[in-house]
C-alpha cells in the first residue's frame, strides 16, 4: 500500500522539524554557560550552580501552564496579579492566626478560583482572553492592594520558609528546583503524550473543528486557566517563602518574563505549535543570562530592556529563519 514508507519518513520529519529551534536554544544555553564560567571563577561550583536556580523557579512554575494556554490559542496576562492576590490573601490569613498550611491551602484555592473566573469568561462567555486577562490583571492586583495596602507581612514559620529557601536533606539541591522538576516532567508528559495535550494542540489550530469532533473545548479552556491560577498561587508560596515577606506589588512584570520565556521556547503566539522541553530550555537560558547580568552589576532596569528585546527577538528570529531556509519536506 502507499503507506509502507510512512513510518520511517515520519520519524525523519519529526527529527528535522521538531528539534530545529531546540538545537538553537541548546547552543545558546551552552554559549551563555561558557560566558558565565569565564566571567566568574566561582561559577562552576556545584553549590553555586544549584543556588542560581532559586531565583527563577517561581517564573518557571508559572511558565508551564502558560505554555499550554498559548498553544491552545489563548493568553493569560493575569498570572502575576493572581500570584500577588493569592500571596496577600494567604499572608493575611496567616497573620490572623490561621495555621500556616491551612493558609497555604487557602492561597492555592484563591489562585485556582482566580483562574477559574478567567476560564469561565473566556470559555462560557466566549470573550477574548487578551481582554479578560487584561481586566483581571488589574482587578486581582487591585484586590491585593485593597487587602494589604502598602504594608507587608513577614515572620513566617521556618517549616514554611524551608519550601522557598531550603535544600533537600543534606544535598545542595534546592527544594523549589525539585518540585519544579517533578512538575516539569508531568507537564511534558501531559503535553506530548496525553489525549489532553493532543486536544490542546488541535484547539490552537482549529477550535471549531475540535468542537465538531466532540472535543470538550470549553471544559479544556476552563481547566487550563484554572491550572494557570493554581500554579501562580503555588509560585506565590515559593516567592513568599524565599523572601520571608509579601506585599501587594510583588512579582511585578512577571507576566512579561514568563510569556517571553514561553515564546523563546518555540511556542508560537498564534497557537498550535511549540514543545515543553523547548520552554524549559528557554527558562534556564533566561535564568542564566539574568544571572550573568547580575554578576556584572547591570541595573535591573537594563535587564528589563534586555527581556523586552528578547521577547521581540523570540518572534523575529523564527520568522527570519523561516524565510531563509525553505520548508524541508522529508
Amino acid at each position: 500500500m502507499i503507506f509502507k514508507r510512512g513510518t520511517s519518513q515520519r520519524r525523519l520529519t519529526l527529527v528535522a522539524t521538531f528539534l530545529r529551534w531546540e538545537w538553537l536554544l541548546i547552543l545558546l544555553f551552552a554559549a551563555a554557560f561558557i560566558v558565565n564560567a569565564l566571567l566568574s571563577p566561582y561559577f562552576l561550583d556545584t553549590r553555586n550552580l544549584f543556588d542560581m536556580t532559586f531565583i527563577f523557579m517561581e517564573k518557571s512554575i508559572i511558565a508551564l501552564p502558560m505554555a499550554f494556554i498559548i498553544i491552545s490559542g489563548n493568553i493569560d496576562l493575569s498570572v502575576a496579579s493572581t500570584l500577588a492576590m493569592s500571596a496577600v490573601l494567604m499572608a493575611t490569613r496567616f497573620q490572623a492566626g490561621w495555621n500556616i498550611w491551612l493558609a497555604v491551602l487557602f492561597g492555592l484555592a484563591v489562585g485556582a478560583l482566580g483562574g477559574l473566573l478567567n476560564g469561565m469568561m473566556v470559555a462560557k462567555m466566549r470573550l477574548p482572553s487578551l481582554v479578560v486577562t487584561l481586566g483581571t490583571y488589574a482587578l486581582y492586583r487591585g484586590i491585593a492592594f485593597v487587602v494589604l495596602g502598602d504594608r507587608a507581612v513577614t515572620g513566617f514559620p521556618s517549616q514554611f520558609l524551608h519550601l522557598g529557601q531550603g535544600y533537600v536533606g543534606d544535598t545542595p539541591v534546592p527544594v523549589p528546583l525539585v518540585i519544579f522538576a517533578v512538575l516539569a516532567i508531568l507537564f511534558v508528559l501531559l503535553l506530548h503524550r496525553s489525549t489532553f495535550g493532543r486536544f490542546v494542540y488541535a484547539m490552537g489550530n482549529n477550535e471549531e473543528a475540535c468542537r465538531y469532533s466532540g472535543v470538550a473545548v470549553d471544559r479544556i479552556k476552563i481547566l487550563l486557566f484554572t491550572l494557570s491560577g493554581l500554579m501562580s498561587a503555588l509560585a506565590a508560596i515559593f516567592l513568599t517563602a524565599r523572601f520571608n515577606s509579601t506585599r501587594p506589588n510583588i512579582a511585578a512584570g512577571f507576566e512579561l518574563e514568563v510569556i517571553t520565556a514561553v515564546l523563546l521556547g518555540g511556542v508560537s503566539i498564534f497557537g498550535g505549535e511549540g514543545t515543553m522541553p523547548g520552554v524549559v530550555l528557554a527558562l534556564f537560558l533566561i535564568g542564566l543570562v539574568s544571572r550573568g547580568m547580575r554578576l556584572k552589576n547591570i541595573a535591573g532596569e537594563i535587564q528589563t530592556i534586555v527581556i523586552g528585546s528578547l521577547l521581540i527577538l523570540a518572534i523575529l528570529l523564527p520568522q527570519l529563519l523561516r524565510r531563509l531556509t525553505p520548508r524541508v519536506r522529508a
Binding site: 500500500m1 502507499i2 503507506f3 514508507r5 510512512g6 513510518t7 519518513q9 515520519r10 520529519t13 508528559l189 501531559l190 503524550r193 496525553s194 489525549t195 489532553f196 493532543r198 486536544f199 494542540y201 488541535a202 489550530n205 482549529n206 471549531e208 473543528a209 475540535c210 468542537r211 465538531y212 469532533s213 466532540g214 472535543v215 470538550a216 498550535g272
Partner: protein, 508 residues
C-alpha cells in the same frame, strides 16, 4: 482586430508541487456571459485569479482590448476595468453600503479634499436602484444576507464602470429567488455591454445563463462551445474525460427499525416543530433552500447548538444531547458543510485528524498509544482510498476530494450508527461525487442510517429513500422516493404548495 475585450493565450501557472494551468486559452467578448466549468482542481479559480491580477502567469499572454497587458496586482486589473466577485465576501462589515462601494474612491470636496458624504450616498442610492434594490445605502453591511452582499459587490463593480465582471461560484449561497434576481441583473449588464465570466459547479446554471461555455480539465484547456451547440452530457464528458454512468448508484436496501426520531424540535428564530424519523438502512434526504434551517436542525441533533424544545429519541430511548461529545457517545456523527473550517485540523496530519474524535480509545490513563492509533488510521484511510504520500502528511496539503475522504474516515472510525451528511458533495469534482454516493449506498446496506442534507435536487431525488422538505424553519413536505418529483419538492421548498400535500404521509 479581435472582437474580444479580453484574451488569454497559452497561460501557464504552477505552484509548488502542482501545475495549476498548462497552456490555457480563454477569451471574453463584450456583451456576453461566459461560463467556466471543470472539476475541482481543474484550474478555474486559478485562471480567474490570473484575470483579476491576484496571480501572475508563468507563461502566456494577456491582451486587453487588443493590447498586451500585465496585471501585476489586483489594483492594476481594477484600473483596467476588471471587477471580481469571489466566494468570500470582500466587504467591510462594520461600514455601511455606500462606504463599501466607494472605499478608497470616495468623492471629495473640491478644495478641502473632505469626503463629500451627500454625493457618496446619492450615487450609492442610484447604483442600488439601477440594480432593482431598495437597499438604503446607510445600512451597515454586517447583517445583510449573502444575496444583498453580492449585490453590493456588483454595485461596487458598476461604480468603477467595470467592463469585465468575474464571478466565482456566485450562486452557492443563494436561494432560488435570489439566483433568479442575480441572473436578471447579469443579463441586464450583458445587454449593456459588460463582459461576464463566471465559474459554477452547477452546470444547469451555466446552460441557463451563459452564451458560451469553456471546459478545463487538470489545468488543460479542453474546449469552448456556444451553449446552444452543446448538450449537458457532452460538457460532462469534456470535464471528466469519460461518460459517467451512474452518478446516483442507489441500491435497494431493506429498511429496518426506527433509529432516530425527532419530535417537535424548536429553536427560537431558527426552526420550529420539526419532526421526522430515520430508519436503519435508509437515506433520508433533507431538502430545502439555503437558510431553511436544515443545518441548524442537524447541529441541534449533534449537540453543537441544542434545541430549546423538543425530544430526540435514539433506538427507543430518549436522548439528552448537550454537546457533540454526547452525540458521539450515542453513535451520531456529523459531517459539516464546511469541511475545512469545521471538519479538519489542517496543520495536523492524517492520523491525528482521523483519530481526533476517538482518541480516548487509544489512551490508557491519558497516555496515547501511537502505534495503535496509526494502525486504526491506516485501515480507515485505506478503506476510503485516501491518496496521500503517507499518513504523516499534513491534511492541508491534500486535494479537496481527499480532504473530504479524511473527514469521512474520521467519522467512520468513530463507528457511528447514524451519519448526518451536510452537503456531502458540495465543491467536489464529478468523479469523487459518484464515489461518495456509492459509499453512502454501501454504508446503509451495512446497517447505517443516513440523514442527508442537500441543496442539489438531482442528489436528493437520486439518493433518498424518503424526503423531508423544510422552508423557513418548518417542515413543509414529506415524500417517499416513489412519489417525489422535482416540482413537488420545489413547491414545498418555497412554500407554494397547498398544505394538503403533507397529510398524505402518516406518522413520520
Amino acid at each position: 482586430m479581435s472582437d474580444y475585450i479580453l484574451e488569454l493565450q497559452e497561460i501557464s501557472k504552477s505552484f509548488p508541487g502542482v501545475q495549476a494551468l498548462d497552456g490555457v486559452d480563454f477569451n471574453l467578448r463584450a456583451g456576453e456571459v461566459h461560463a467556466l466549468v471543470g472539476e475541482n482542481g481543474a484550474g478555474k479559480s486559478t485562471l480567474i485569479k490570473v484575470v483579476s491580477g491576484v496571480h501572475q502567469p508563468d507563461a502566456g499572454e494577456i491582451q486587453f482590448q487588443g493590447r498586451s497587458v500585465t496585471f501585476a496586482n489586483p489594483l492594476i486589473a481594477q484600473q483596467h476595468g476588471i471587477a471580481a466577485i469571489y466566494q468570500e465576501p470582500t466587504l467591510f462589515p462594520d461600514l455601511d453600503v455606500a462606504e463599501n462601494i466607494f472605499m478608497g474612491r470616495q468623492p471629495l470636496q473640491p478644495v478641502t479634499r473632505r469626503i463629500n458624504r451627500r454625493q457618496m450616498y446619492e450615487e450609492a442610492g442610484k447604483l442600488l436602484r439601477s440594480l432593482g434594490m431598495n437597499l438604503d445605502p446607510h445600512t451597515r453591511v454586517r447583517g445583510l444576507s449573502f444575496a444583498d452582499q453580492q449585490m453590493v459587490e456588483i454595485a461596487k463593480a458598476l461604480s468603477v464602470n467595470a467592463q469585465v465582471l468575474i464571478m466565482d461560484e456566485p450562486t452557492s449561497a443563494l436561494t432560488l429567488r435570489e439566483v433568479a434576481n442575480l441572473f436578471r441583473i447579469a443579463r441586464q449588464l450583458r445587454d449593456a455591454g459588460t463582459a461576464i465570466a463566471f465559474i459554477s459547479h452547477r452546470l444547469e446554471e451555466a446552460f441557463e445563463l451563459a452564451d458560451r461555455i469553456t471546459v478545463l480539465r487538470d489545468g488543460h484547456y479542453i474546449g469552448t462551445r456556444a451553449v446552444h451547440d452543446v448538450t449537458l452530457d457532452e460538457v460532462i464528458h469534456m470535464m471528466v474525460g469519460r461518460t459517467l454512468d451512474n452518478m446516483f448508484p442507489k441500491q435497494e436496501v431493506e429498511q429496518g427499525e426506527v433509529m432516530l426520531r425527532v419530535d417537535g424540535l424548536t429553536k427560537e428564530g431558527l426552526f420550529y416543530d420539526v419532526s421526522f424519523e430515520l430508519h436503519r438502512g435508509e437515506i433520508l434526504g433533507l431538502a430545502g433552500l439555503v437558510g431553511a434551517g436544515r443545518t441548524e436542525v442537524a447541529r441541534a441533533i449533534f449537540g453543537v447548538e441544542p434545541a430549546d424544545r423538543g425530544i430526540i429519541w435514539l433506538n427507543g430511548h430518549e436522548a439528552h444531547i448537550r454537546s457533540p461529545k454526547d452525540a458521539l457517545a450515542l453513535g451520531i456523527a456529523y459531517l459539516p458543510e464546511n469541511r475545512q473550517q469545521h471538519g479538519l485540523v489542517l496543520p495536523m496530519n492524517i492520523t491525528q485528524n482521523v483519530t481526533l474524535p476517538i482518541l480516548r480509545e487509544f489512551a490508557r490513563l491519558g497516555w496515547v498509544d501511537r502505534v495503535a492509533e496509526q494502525r486504526a488510521a491506516q485501515s480507515f484511510a485505506e478503506r476510503l482510498d485516501v491518496r496521500a504520500a503517507g499518513l504523516w502528511q499534513k491534511v492541508r496539503e491534500l486535494s479537496g476530494g481527499n480532504q473530504q475522504k479524511v473527514v469521512l474516515a474520521k467519522w467512520l472510525a468513530a463507528r457511528p450508527q447514524i451519519l448526518i451528511l451536510d452537503e456531502p458533495t458540495r465543491g467536489i469534482d464529478v468523479g469523487t461525487k459518484a464515489a461518495v454516493h456509492q459509499l453512502m449506498s454501501t454504508l446503509v446496506a451495512q446497517g447505517f442510517a443516513i440523514l442527508m442534507i442537500s441543496s442539489e435536487l438531482p442528489e436528493i431525488l437520486g439518493m433518498s429513500d424518503r424526503i423531508v422538505v423544510m422552508y423557513e424553519g418548518r417542515v413543509t413536505g414529506r415524500f417517499t422516493r416513489a412519489e417525489a418529483t422535482q416540482e413537488k419538492i420545489i413547491a414545498a421548498a418555497t412554500a407554494s404548495a397547498p398544505i394538503a400535500e403533507n397529510t398524505e404521509i402518516q406518522c413520520l
